[in-house]
Symmetry: C2
Subunit: 272 residues, 2 copies
């Protein structure tokens, strides 16, 4: 999945544009997995085993591993090793720093962790983003544009054009749609449509479906393009579908249900 | 240094408002330290030993540790343990994510690493910042406002008022100057003066003096307040003052020289 074409092929092959977010919350990990770092690792690997054929990507959220320090980081390395090769690994790190530092983060994620993509924050501008885009062919940079959280209103809509549009316009001069995606949240469909106008060819990573209140159909209506153009993330709705020892089976059911919706949409959009 | 008063006392006691940035670049670490993670750890500890009485803070840049994966993270834990208790530890992490994730990052930095402060990116707004501010009394959140790099022009000056001013205005409603500082780069003195008008009582963490071209005197003229209000960071100018086995002595000389400038300024400002 080194470019849009390969990503779209994977989406067609799996009839899915689902990304499973790995946000292992210690307070919600079923007791049957054990406790501490080991329990967290067992939980994540079980989720991967239960859902990998239904997902095109997994998105580990680095905060949930860093909270365990070096042990958590080592567990994350093993979990990523455990993810099958036909799934994209997105390091949800939201890093952003000046050039020489950004290059280290790129190395940490793409080489160290073996991620295929990393989420990056745009605040500091071009020299904080380019080291990711330029790191190596086939590595994806996923830039925050319009996020799904309430705080998105504070700054992302500031100015005219709103900041998120300015980010998308500028960033497209730094990297092609084969190396750069944008985070576009599910909770504001009208802004997804606007984002699609600004970046017609780019893939969007879309958080906020499910727990945060966004509806899949609204996202598709606003953001679809000729190559699907969407990776829709679900974290909590899958991870915590059950708090019992049947958590993996229930996670699969939840992912299956979302994938089936996606399958129907893909059939409608590509044959219609 | 749990609030401005304690921080200002420490500044007066040490006659210094110097922050030493720990950005251990593998290609520039003197051969006498050894190689790999061990060399990096030895290098950082030697810099701390050579400069801790001249600095009020150390600022490890997490990218340079994460590039070594879990081993690098473990080395960072040991380096932070090695920093004397009379110095503030600023985790230069520039994290920023939605509420439940931000809370994990706060835990990772304040509890896991034992940092007293963390740099945070404001892009995603209030719910991405508050978990740091609210984590615990005595922990500092240092929010990116106007950075020292060329890319700062891309988005930080977008809109009217410019984004960095909007960030500073909004953020002051989320935390007091005893828990919230701002990153204000040294390379644009006129914008430092503007930032001081927007946030008269806040401490600014100021990168960009030295290697990036900012002058200490210009920073002081633009940003000084009644409690100093400035932590001026130097990284490369101190760390790489010599590439030989005398690197620690030369680092001390470089820090000494900067501290002496600061001492003179403090005498002038507080007795004048």
């Amino acid at each position: 999945m080194r470019n849009r074409e390969e990503l779209f092929k994977s989406i067609q092959l799996k009839s899915s544009f689902l990304c499973v977010g790995l946000d292992p919350d210690a307070e919600r990990i079923p007791a049957s997995c054990g406790t501490g770092v080991q329990g967290m690792e067992q939980f994540c690997k079980s989720i991967v085993d239960a859902t990998h054929d239904l997902a095109v990507a997994f998105k580990p959220n680095l905060a949930f591993f860093e909270q365990y320090g070096s042990e958590g980081w080592a567990a994350l390395e093993r979990i990523i090793d455990h993810i099958p090769k036909d799934c994209m690994v997105i390091a949800d790190a939201k890093r952003g720093d000046i050039g020489n530092t950004a290059a280290r983060y790129a190395q940490a994620m793409f080489e160290g962790l073996g991620a295929h993509a990393i989420t990056v924050a745009p605040y500091m501008g071009e020299d904080s983003v380019r080291p990711f885009v330029d790191f190596r062919d086939g590595c994806w940079t996923i830039l925050l544009a319009m996020t799904s959280n309430p705080g998105a209103q504070d700054f992302e809509f500031h100015g005219n054009p709103p900041l998120y549009e300015r980010v998308m316009e500028r960033a497209q001069t730094w990297g092609s749609p084969d190396e750069l995606m944008f985070v576009v949240g599910a909770t504001r469909p009208e802004a997804i449509a606007r984002a699609r106008t600004v970046a017609p060819d780019s893939f969007f990573l879309v958080p906020g479906v499910g727990a945060q209140g966004g509806a899949l159909r609204d996202v598709v209506d606003a953001g679809w393009n000729a190559q699907c153009g969407l990776l829709v993330n679900s974290s909590r709705g899958i991870l915590y579908a059950s708090s019992g020892s049947d958590f993996a089976a229930k996670a699969r059911e939840s992912a299956w249900s979302l994938r089936n919706e996606m399958k129907a949409i893909l059939q409608e959009k590509t044959n219609g």
